[in-house]
C-alpha cells in the first residue's frame, strides 16, 4: 500500500501545497460534513499540546469521525517501558489514521515506517510541525490573496523556532523576501541561511525592530521565546523580552500587513494590537482547523475532487 503519511512538507511541490490549500478552502466553506463517517482517528500526544490536539480533534469530529487517543503521556504504557513501535502497532489495530505528537525528533518518520495506517505528524520535538506550516500558509494566502512575492518578517526566536524554519522551507516556491529579526543568541541558524542562498530566497538580517523597519512588511510573523527549548535558563532570562511588538510601531505599516503568531502568546504582542486591523493570530488558529481537515483527508486518500463533490455536507 502507498504510504500516505504526512511527516514533513519540506519536500512538497508547489502544486501539492496549493492543492492542499485549496482543499482547506473548501473546508472553510463547509466545515461540517459526514465524509469521515465510520472512521476512527487516533490522536496520540506523547507530549502535551492542548491547542494542536483540540484543533485536530475538532477537525476530525466536524467531518464525522470518532476520535480516540490520549492527551497526556503519563497515562500510556510508555511510562511502563513500552516502545513507540509497540504503541503504534497496537493503536493501528483500532484506528484508520494516527495523529501523533512526540517529544523525540524523528519519531513521526519512524512511526510512518512501522505503522500499517497513515501517520500525521503533529510535531516531533524541535524537528517538524507540518500542520502548523500549512495553517501559516493558509493565513498568508487568505490575507494577501497570494503567496507570491511577499515581504515576510520573522521575529523573535529564529534559532529554536521550528515553525519559522518550516515556513522558510515551504515558501521557497513563492519568491519571498524574508527579514530575520532576532538577538544574536536566537539568530537564524547558518544552515537555514545556506538553504536560502541555495534556493535563491532573498533575506535581510537585522536587530532593528521599529516602525521604519516594519513599514514595508506584508506579514510579521511573531514567535514566543520557548522556555522549554532552552537547556540554559540564564540564556532564556537574557533574551526572553528582546523583541516585543507594540502598537505604536505599526503607524507606518502597510494596509494589507497582517501579524501572525503560532500561539500561545505570552507578552510578545501588546494586547491593544488585538483590536487593530493588523491582528490576525486568532483567525490564523481558526484556519488551522480547515488546514488539518485537509491534511487528515489527504492522508486517508480523499481527493480535492471527492471534497468538491461531497454529498455529506451538513448545512
Amino acid at each position: 500500500m502507498e504510504n500516505r503519511s504526512l511527516v514533513t512538507i519540506a519536500n512538497y511541490s508547489k502544486e501539492k501545497i496549493l492543492y492542499l490549500l485549496e482543499m482547506a478552502h473548501e473546508f472553510e466553506k463547509h466545515p461540517n460534513r459526514k465524509i469521515l463517517d465510520g472512521k476512527v482517528v487516533a490522536t496520540l500526544f506523547f507530549e502535551p499540546s492542548t491547542r494542536t490536539r483540540l484543533s485536530f480533534e475538532t477537525a476530525a469530529g466536524r467531518l464525522g469521525a470518532r476520535v480516540i487517543g490520549f492527551a497526556d503521556p503519563k497515562v500510556t504504557s510508555g511510562t511502563k517501558g513500552e516502545t513507540l513501535k509497540d504503541t503504534i502497532m497496537m493503536v493501528s489495530n483500532y484506528a484508520d489514521i494516527i495523529v501523533m505528537r512526540h517529544y523525540l525528533e524523528g519519531a513521526a518518520q519512524y512511526a510512518s515506517e512501522v505503522a500499517p495506517v497513515p501517520i500525521v505528524n503533529a510535531g516531533d520535538g524541535a524537528n517538524q510541525h507540518p500542520s502548523q506550516t500549512m495553517l501559516d500558509l493558509y493565513s498568508i494566502q487568505k490575507t494577501q490573496g497570494t503567496l507570491d512575492n511577499l515581504n515576510i518578517f520573522l521575529v523573535g526566536d529564529l534559532k529554536y523556532g521550528r515553525t519559522v524554519h518550516s515556513l522558510l522551507t515551504a515558501m521557497r516556491h513563492f519568491n519571498p523576501t524574508f527579514h530575520f529579526i532576532a538577538p544574536d543568541e536566537l539568530a537564524m541558524p547558518e544552515s537555514y541561511k545556506t538553504y536560502c542562498r541555495q534556493n535563491g530566497i532573498r533575506f535581510v538580517e537585522t536587530k532593528e525592530f521599529n516602525a521604519d523597519v516594519l513599514s514595508d512588511a506584508d506579514i510579521i510573523y511573531m514567535t514566543r521565546v520557548q522556555r522549554e527549548r532552552f537547556t540554559d535558563l540564564m540564556e532564556y532570562e537574557r533574551v526572553k523580552d528582546c523583541y516585543l511588538l507594540k502598537e505604536d510601531m505599526l503607524f507606518r505599516a502597510r494596509a494589507n500587513m497582517k501579524i501572525l503568531h503560532p500561539l500561545p502568546r505570552v507578552n510578545e504582542i501588546e494586547y491593544s494590537i488585538d483590536d487593530t486591523r493588523h491582528a490576525y493570530y486568532f483567525q490564523q488558529a481558526r484556519g488551522g482547523l480547515f488546514a488539518r481537515q485537509a491534511l487528515i483527508c489527504d492522508a486517508l486518500g480523499i481527493t480535492l475532487e471527492d471534497i468538491k463533490n461531497d454529498k455529506t455536507i451538513i448545512l
Binding site: 516502545t83 513507540l84 523525540l104 525528533e105 524523528g106 518518520q109 519512524y110 524541535a126 517538524q128 544552515s191
Partner: protein, 151 residues
C-alpha cells in the same frame, strides 16, 4: 633488489586490508565483526610503513567481503587498500568509497533523536561526500563523519 622478509605471513586465499592507521585497527575489527568470524585472521599492529610511519594490517583467510561491507570502512579509514588474494596472487585491488547511505553503522549525535531512544536501526544519508557530511534520516541533524561514533 632483494626482497625483504614479510612482516606478516602471506595468505593463500582471502582478503588483505592494508594501510589501516594503527589507532583505527580495533574499530575496523568491530565494524567488520571480525571478533565473531571463524576464519583464521592475522592482525598486524604498529607495523613499519614507508607511507604512514606505522600502520595496521588485517589478513582474513578464505573470506571475501561484499563491496557494501567494505565501503563501511570509509567511515573510519577512507584510505585503506584492499587486496583480494587467490592462490597467493593478488587478483584484485580495491579502494573503499563512501556509500550514499549508512545503515546501523554510526550513532546519530542528537540525544533527542528517536534512534537513540528506541530499539531500531540508525540511517544516515550523505549530504556532501567530499566534506564527509551526513544527515540523519529521522531527526534531520547533519553530522560530520569525522565526529561520528560507531554503534
Amino acid at each position: 633488489m632483494k626482497r625483504q622478509e614479510l612482516q606478516v605471513a602471506a595468505l593463500e586465499n582471502g582478503t588483505v586490508i592494508d594501510h589501516i592507521p594503527s589507532s583505527k585497527i580495533f574499530e575496523v575489527i568491530n565494524l567488520l565483526h571480525l571478533e565473531k568470524a571463524e576464519a583464521s585472521i592475522t592482525i598486524g599492529f604498529n607495523l613499519k610503513s614507508k607511507k604512514m610511519g606505522t600502520k595496521g594490517i588485517i589478513k582474513v583467510a578464505d573470506k571475501f567481503f561484499s563491496d557494501e561491507e567494505l565501503n563501511q570502512l570509509s567511515v573510519i579509514t577512507p584510505n585503506v587498500t584492499l587486496c583480494i588474494i587467490h592462490d597467493y596472487e593478488v587478483t584484485e585491488k580495491k579502494t573503499v568509497c563512501m556509500p550514499d547511505e549508512l545503515t546501523d553503522i554510526v550513532r546519530c549525535p542528537n540525544p533527542k533523536c528517536i534512534t537513540n531512544n528506541e530499539p531500531m536501526k540508525t540511517r544516515l544519508h550523505v549530504v556532501d561526500k567530499e566534506a564527509g557530511l551526513f544527515q540523519c534520516h529521522y531527526c534531520n541533524k547533519v553530522l560530520s563523519i569525522a565526529d561520528a561514533k560507531l554503534l
